[in-house]
């Protein structure tokens, strides 16, 4: 991005990942090795990661890891091929270029890859860099971990958890386009507190680009409280229940809907979740409750992502579901140019925001005659791709609600349910909050959902 100033700490030596200047110099060297004309592109993810892991109330490993992941692409007359390396010397780069050129000989020309040359795009500048994250060193991180373990240990419980901070640069440098580079940070903190006898378990976690927005002490308290309150659960019959899903539990399900905002696959297969019949999508049709809007704005302070895709397309605001109606499915630029006569596609970065309502979790509980409060879901696997039917289990805290009050901890249950059913069976919606989603940021509300299908009791705690 032209005119973008580098974050202050990035200018300090020694560097923990490659700077914009280093990436561009690397690309210049690489392009000299290209043989046979055409274009060359380097996609680089260069990163540093500081990690701290603990189990049974003691830190088990602190680590510092760094790497450069380079994908070298050669594009000749609409055919493209690539090779990967993590080395930045001439020998390795030349080797990767040769490997890409060798693979290119077998590639057919794809009309979608023939694009008008060097179009200038405007890129957004989302909030994705935090000095606070990049500055979290081993000593401070270890001290934080000890402070997070302390309350659990004092209560006679066992804590296991993980902190990760990452500083990285993502670059796309092409022989036929302006160089793109974005430095970004990521931070996450999560922990599980268990009763030493294995009769209770609680979890809490949060991720953000900014370590300063993660309140570790609050997470430690929450995980401990959930553990203590979940001890000695009683078994209840599986069946259909009204469920109050905490934001994390909603995200655990709705993320699979977000992954399905993919236009290409339905057009090609016709058996897609959002396909009406072969070659016709459900765009414009109602697919969820009218209160549901799922969108992504990269400029939202909690939803920033690297503003370009691996192929250099700008990431722009998109609304996937608007008041229950499917309004967008993702496309790349090749598809947009060929089929939609549009200059830009709408990439899906998996970052999203789901609309909310006014009801607090406490109100949801108070207005429930009989239901279950769910902390989160785990071990989710797909049963049917078309109806998006999944099975999975509840984890780290499940409680029975009777007559407006939490009455007892109950044993975990296996569900067989579709997230689309959930989005169509909403009784109440609460305030959306950021959740633990290290791969792509998400802001999700708690939900009260009717008739959620639990199919078996499980013993795991």
């Amino acid at each position: 991005m032209r005119g973008r100033s580098e974050p202050r700490r990035l200018l300090e030596e020694p560097r923990r990942f490659l700077s914009q200047a280093q990436c561009e110099a690397l690309a210049q060297r690489a392009m000299r090795f290209a043989v046979g004309g055409g274009d060359t592109a380097l996609y680089i993810d260069t990163w540093w990661s500081g990690e701290m892991r603990w189990g049974r109330n003691r830190v088990t490993l602190g680590s510092d890891r760094r790497n450069n992941e380079l994908t070298v692409s050669r594009i000749i007359r609409g055919a493209s091929a690539s090779a990967r390396t993590n080395q930045i010397d001439d020998v390795s780069i030349q080797g990767a270029i040769r490997a890409a050129e060798r693979a290119l000989r077998y590639r057919p020309t794809s009309p979608e890859d023939i694009k008008d040359p060097a179009v200038h795009f405007d890129y957004l500048s989302p909030a994705i860099w935090s000095d606070r994250t990049f500055a979290l060193g081993a000593d401070e991180c270890a001290a934080v971990a000890r402070a997070l373990i302390e309350p659990a240990e004092q209560a006679g419980m066992l804590s296991a958890g993980y902190i990760e901070v990452r500083g990285a640069g993502r670059a796309l440098i092409r022989s036929n386009g302006e160089p793109l580079y974005a430095p970004y940070t990521q931070a996450q903190c999560s922990m599980t507190v268990r009763d030493p006898k294995g009769t209770g378990s609680g979890w809490a976690g949060l991720s953000s680009y900014d370590w300063g927005r993660i309140d570790g002490a609050a997470l430690a308290q929450r995980a401990l409280q959930k553990c203590l309150a979940s001890r000695n659960p009683v078994a209840i019959e599986p069946g259909r229940y009204t469920v109050i899903l905490e934001p994390q539990a909603v995200h655990d399900l709705v993320q699979y809907v977000v992954m399905k905002f993919d236009r290409r696959s339905f057009a090609e297969q016709g058996n897609h979740t959002f396909a009406l019949r072969p070659f016709f999508s459900k765009l414009g049709l109602k697919v969820a409750d009218s209160r549901v809007t799922i969108s992504h704005d990269p400029m939202h302070p909690d939803l920033g992502v690297v503003p370009f895709t691996p192929s250099g397309e700008p990431v722009r605001p998109v609304t996937w579901i608007d008041h229950g109606v499917l309004t967008a499915l993702s496309t790349d630029r090749g598809y947009a140019l060929q089929w939609l006569h549009q200059n830009l596609g709408s990439p899906n970065t998996f970052a999203y925001q789901m609309s909310g309502g006014e009801t607090s979790v406490e109100e949801m509980i108070a207005t429930t005659k009989r239901g279950l409060l769910v902390t989160r879901f785990s071990n989710i696997s797909l049963l049917d791709p078309t109806s998006l039917l999944y099975t999975g289990v509840t984890r780290d805290g499940l409680w029975l609600i009777e007559n407006g009050k939490i009455s007892k901890a109950v044993k975990n249950l296996r569900f067989t349910e579709s997230p689309l059913f959930v989005l169509n069976s909403i009784a109440q919606i609460g305030t959306p909050v950021p959740v633990f989603s290290p791969e792509a940021p998400a802001i999700v509300p708690p939900l009260k959902v009717d008739d959620f299908s639990f199919t078996a009791t499980i013993d795991a705690i």
Partner: protein, 540 residues
């Protein structure tokens, strides 16, 4: 050659990152691409020792260093995609007062070795400021200079791309033209990983490990036979899979003989009447692939010691075998005919090595003996956690050699070895188990999902057949099995014999950050009684 490798090594090069050539042997010549140093190059050891020296001087009581150089090449003939990837990495692990630190990066340079050694110690020291922690490393036989290579007939990286593409394409064309309506999807991937391990105890070993993955999927499109009008019938076949072998794994597979046999069986099956599921309890026969999948999801995962003790609680979860010292030697996990062994020496199996990632030479060990929990998968630190049990039973406190990591970029942790069910004594095959079934269900290619303690689970795919008087009489649509692992394994009533043993590739993901490891499962077909059969897509 202008600069010798040894000169380069001594010089230490403090040059700027990009001007220098971090791939140290590249210093020979910048004009021509040269091969990276083979792992057996005499300069690799002194390079590795630089990291150990740095860690020791910084205060480590123990340190080890791993260098890995990994090549992979994948083929997707349908889309004409061939992709090469190369990764070099070095990782240093240091122990200070019972606390571990780890540092890794991509550059094999002398400066970087020293930096990583110091960095690993800095992390260990930062962690050691808290309460006391004790690490007892299991005994090890120090190998001062060992080298080992996965025995392969043909290094896949010496086979031309044209030959591989031609062969895979030929397989697809043959299958599709011989069987109208069938479409075949063939793919392959190869990996060669060179690695060196050195520790402050004096171990230095190098290995070259090979792996070949091959996929051969068949789908059959016949409108009349479709159960769902929108979906073609997919029949994942197990003719190929993953093995620690070379190009010969694909080239020498007797596919031209096996494809007609498979197709004849599938065509017969497709013509069976289709029945809806009748939920209930049945005697069930599983093929070896299904037994392998169940074993991986239950007993293999549950006997990872770090998981059992709660170190994985915040990641994949814990284990139903959660009191190792109290359960060893007494806890029933299956019927008396169930014996399960771990081993990293089976030729061709994915977890097979000469030394693990802590320099331990693995020996075969028994996880389940006659239905009773007999041991856990261990690393050197893990062996120390079971010292009380081992000492009491006169066993050495020694790692089972399960330390593993995908590359030196990742810290090692306990990962599953190859695991096998001991076959039954009688020479029984899958067909014999089916023949002996008066009324019940046969399931092939079952896959299952479990919970975070690997105790309760449900299948999510598999082909179900109704068996009457030893014969397949119908295909059952939409069926699944629901199980509780210890109960399922206790309901085992018959096992296939040694001739029915099959090896299947498997993968385990664990840790934070998550990393994946590959291992093989040796399994035989088996019969279980009173298995719960459900309609897997039916909601409550």
């Amino acid at each position: 050659m202008t600069v010798s490798r040894r000169d380069f090594l001594k010089a230490g090069t403090g040059a700027a990152l990009l001007a220098a050539t971090p791939r140290w042997l590249a210093a020979r010549s910048l004009r021509e691409p040269s091969l990276a140093p083979p792992i057996t190059d005499p300069d690799v050891k002194p390079l590795a020792l630089l990291a150990l020296d740095a860690a020791r001087s910084a205060g480590a009581t123990y340190a080890d260093v791993r260098l890995t150089h990994t090549w992979s090449r994948s083929f997707e003939p349908f889309n004409a995609i061939i992709q090469d990837a190369e990764e070099m990495a070095v990782g240093v692990r240091a122990l200070v007062n019972g606390y571990w630190g780890f540092a890794s990066g991509p550059y094999w340079t002398p400066d970087e070795m020293a930096r990583l050694g110091r960095e690993a110690v800095a992390h260990a020291k930062a962690n050691a400021l808290g309460k006391a922690r004790v690490v007892e490393l299991g005994k090890i036989r120090v190998v001062a200079d060992g080298h080992w290579v996965t025995p392969v007939k043909i290094d896949p990286f010496t086979v031309s791309i044209d030959e591989v593409l031609d062969y895979l394409h030929g397989l697809q064309v043959y299958t599709e033209s011989a069987y109208p309506g069938v479409s075949a999807n063939v793919g392959a991937g190869f990996q060669r990983q060179e690695k060196a391990f050195a520790s402050t105890e004096g171990t230095f070993v190098t290995q070259t490990l090979y792996r070949t993955d091959a996929g051969f999927g068949i789908s059959y499109d016949n409108q009349q036979l479709r159960t769902d009008p929108r979906q073609p019938i997919m029949l994942p076949s197990s003719l190929l899979g993953s093995a620690a072998r070379g190009w010969e794994y694909i080239r020498e597979a007797p596919l031209r003989e096996e494809i007609p046999i498979l197709m004849a069986r599938l065509e017969k099956d497709w013509r069976l009447p289709i029945k809806p599921v009748e939920v209930g309890r049945y005697d069930v026969v599983l093929d070896a692939a299904g037994v392998a999948n169940l074993l991986a999801g239950t007993i293999v995962a549950a006997t990872e010691l770090d998981r059992a003790l709660g170190y994985e609680a915040n990641a994949g979860g814990t284990s139903w075998l959660n009191r190792p010292l109290a359960m060893l030697g007494t806890e029933p996990v299956g019927a008396p005919l169930l014996t399960v062994t771990g081993d990293r020496s089976t030729p061709g199996a994915l977890a097979t090595v000469k030394w693990d990632d802590e320099g331990v030479e693995p020996e075969p060990f028994t996880l389940v003996k006659d239905g009773i929990l007999a041991d856990f998968q261990t690393t050197r630190e893990g062996a120390g956690w079971l010292a009380e049990y081992y000492t009491k039973h006169g066993k050495p406190v020694r790692s089972h050699g399960c330390a593993n990591a995908p590359s030196a970029l990742h810290a090692t942790m306990e990962h599953p070895p190859n695991v096998a069910i001991t076959p039954g004594r009688a020479d029984v095959r899958l067909d014999d188990l089916v023949k002996d079934l008066d009324a019940g269900i046969l399931v092939t290619n079952l896959t299952a999902t479990t919970d975070f303690q690997h105790v309760n689970g449900e299948s999510h795919s598999g082909n179900f057949y109704e068996i009457k008087r030893g014969k397949k009489v119908a295909r059952i649509d939409g069926a699944g099995i629901l199980f509780r692992a210890p109960n399922l394994w206790k309901s085992l009533t018959a096992l296939g014999g040694a001739r029915s043993l099959e090896w299947h590739g498997a993968a385990a993901v664990k840790g934070e950050p998550a990393r994946q490891s590959a291992f093989s499962i040796g399994a035989v077909p088996a019969r279980f009684k009173d298995v719960t059969i459900i309609d897997r897509t039916r909601k409550a």
